[in-house]
């Protein structure tokens, strides 16, 4: 048990909790499309692509003689990699799942190989990329809030088209929707959101937040609106509850949030069975 009560230590957890809540809602919203499009590993691939971007940025002064902000490079490469999933995903010769796997292994391998040129920077690369949900500078909270705003506007503006193009791309294309362009925009929003959230909350937590709330919603809900509502609510509850439990029991914050998400998944399963 912690010596200081949770409420007395508000100055410690207020900003990280705000960041965790923003990240939870952002990832849960994105996660509904990630899971429905069977692209669950997009989060892992974007994190690897981001790491490649950071490594390339750290190498830039040695190679081209000028500085590139590593965080921005990580976010840009992560988001761009997600855009590539969309372009390759509709190619009949390769599915989106294989594209994600290719990005994951190739970006990971390239990071490791290029990382050997930066032997003293490993810790820096890791800390630049993977947050731990314990500390959240104001600029990261602002970045998360802006990503959330972008995602909400994007989904609100294009929701009917996104659903049609994701569910039945052939018919959507024949009836006038520019499916490839829409896919690219969707994956860009997903990639940007995941890259920024990973920086703040950590790769494992973001992976869980993109997959578990939406899965719980699909288990519990019958309607699309219910799935979204469940995903957002369960992500918020698990982020806040996991944060609280990690504080009072001195547990790793990210992992505790993931386990809390696991509990909401079980709840979703139970609710779904009761409604049958």
């Amino acid at each position: 048990m912690s010596e200081v009560s949770f409420w007395e230590a508000a100055f410690l957890w207020r900003d990280p909790l705000i960041a965790a809540s923003l990240g939870a809602v952002l990832c849960a919203l994105c996660g509904v499309f990630v899971v429905l499009r069977r692209s669950a590993f997009v989060s892992a691939a974007v994190a690897q692509a981001s790491s490649l971007g950071v490594v390339l940025a750290l190498l830039a002064p040695h190679v081209i003689g000028s500085e590139i902000p590593p965080l921005a490079a990580g976010v840009v490469v992560g988001a761009a990699s997600a855009g590539l999933f969309a372009l390759s995903g509709r190619d009949a010769r390769i599915g989106v799942d294989a594209s994600i796997a290719l990005a994951y292994v190739l970006a990971g391998a390239a990071s490791l190989v290029l990382g050997t040129l930066l032997p003293h920077e490993y810790e820096r690369v890791h800390s630049l990329l993977f947050g731990d949900a314990v500390a959240a500078p104001i600029e990261e909270i602002v970045a998360l809030a802006l990503c959330l705003l972008l995602a909400v506007v994007f989904f609100a503006a294009l929701f009917p088209r996104l659903v049609f193009a994701s569910f039945d791309p052939e018919a959507a294309g024949a009836m006038g929707i520019r499916v490839r362009r829409l896919d690219a925009a969707l994956y860009f929003v997903l990639g940007l959101s995941i890259a920024v959230a990973t920086r703040v909350l950590g790769a494992l937590t973001v992976f869980a937040l993109t997959v578990i709330p939406a899965s719980g919603g699909l288990l519990a809900g019958r309607r699309f609106s219910g799935v979204i509502a469940w995903a957002v609510a369960s992500a918020l509850v698990a982020a806040a509850g996991g944060y609280y439990l990690s504080f009072v029991w001195s547990l790793p914050t990210g992992a505790t949030i993931v386990l809390a998400l696991g509990a909401t998944l079980l709840l979703g399963l139970a609710v779904g069975r009761l409604r049958r």
């Binding site: 009917p160 018919a171 009836m175 929707i177």
Partner: protein, 244 residues
């Protein structure tokens, strides 16, 4: 209702169109083609002849490799019924949700259609699925799904209804029932019908024109004209309803 050729402008026109998936490898010679209001066009030919590629180029889903596509009906809308009837069952969609999807291409950003639900229910009634609007789409049988997808294709009031090999999964009575249903819907909506098929079957009594593709060539005309020219030899035998 029959083709209105001669009494109106065509909906669209392909001019010296080169169609295909790969640049430099057109499927057919340069093609001039017009699609007329209210006509029933059957795009026929053996499997692999390029029927779907031709229709994708016609509706604009596949860019032309050359030539041009002119839309002569402002705001021309296509409704499309895909060949496949199996969809990912994890999607939490009711039958009504799926039918309402058909309005999505025509909604502006942030737009919602207040009348789409009423129109979708009306169309579900017309295709014989009244009362199944709230049923999960994944629970429907194959035939019910096809009818729901026809309703989806019509919900935005398209001037052209395209059906991609819709009778593939059907036995002859099922095919006749489907042709009858589409014929009724065509009468009600006035939409032109573009029906892709590798056989004519029950369509022979309904169609206005055939676009027949075989061996890298396309011929367009009436059933009688193409039969008389021997174009359909080995594919269609007049007086019989069993076709290859």
């Amino acid at each position: 209702m029959s083709a209105q050729k001669g009494s109106a402008a065509p909906h669209l026109r392909l001019v010296s169109a080169r169609i295909g998936h790969r640049p430099g490898q057109p499927l057919l010679p340069p093609l001039d083609f017009e699609l007329w209001p209210g006509e029933w066009l059957v795009v026929a030919g053996p499997n692999g002849a390029g029927k779907s590629t031709f229709v994708q180029s016609l509706v604009g889903a596949l860019p032309l490799l050359g030539g041009r596509r002119e839309i002569l009906t402002p705001g021309l809308r296509f409704g499309y019924v895909p060949q496949r009837l199996s969809f990912d069952p994890i999607w939490p969609l009711s039958t009504l949700d799926v039918v309402r999807m058909g309005i999505a291409p025509w909604l502006p950003p942030f737009g919602r259609s207040a009348s789409a639900s009423a129109r979708a229910r009306e169309l579900l009634d017309q295709v014989g699925l009244g009362g199944l609007g709230d049923t999960p789409f994944r629970s429907l049988s194959g035939g019910q799904r096809q009818r729901a997808l026809i309703a989806r294709a019509l919900v935005a009031g398209p001037q052209v209804l395209v059906l991609d090999e819709p009778a593939n999964h059907l036995d002859p009575p099922g095919e006749r029932a489907l042709v009858e249903l589409v014929s009724e819907l065509r009468e009600r909506t006035g939409a032109a019908v573009v029906w892709i098929s590798h056989r004519l079957g029950a369509l022979a009594q309904r169609l206005d024109r055939i676009a027949f593709l075989r061996a890298g060539a396309i011929r367009v005309g009436s059933l009688q004209a193409l039969s008389a020219e021997g174009i359909l030899e080995g594919f269609f035998e007049p007086g019989k309803e069993a076709f290859r």
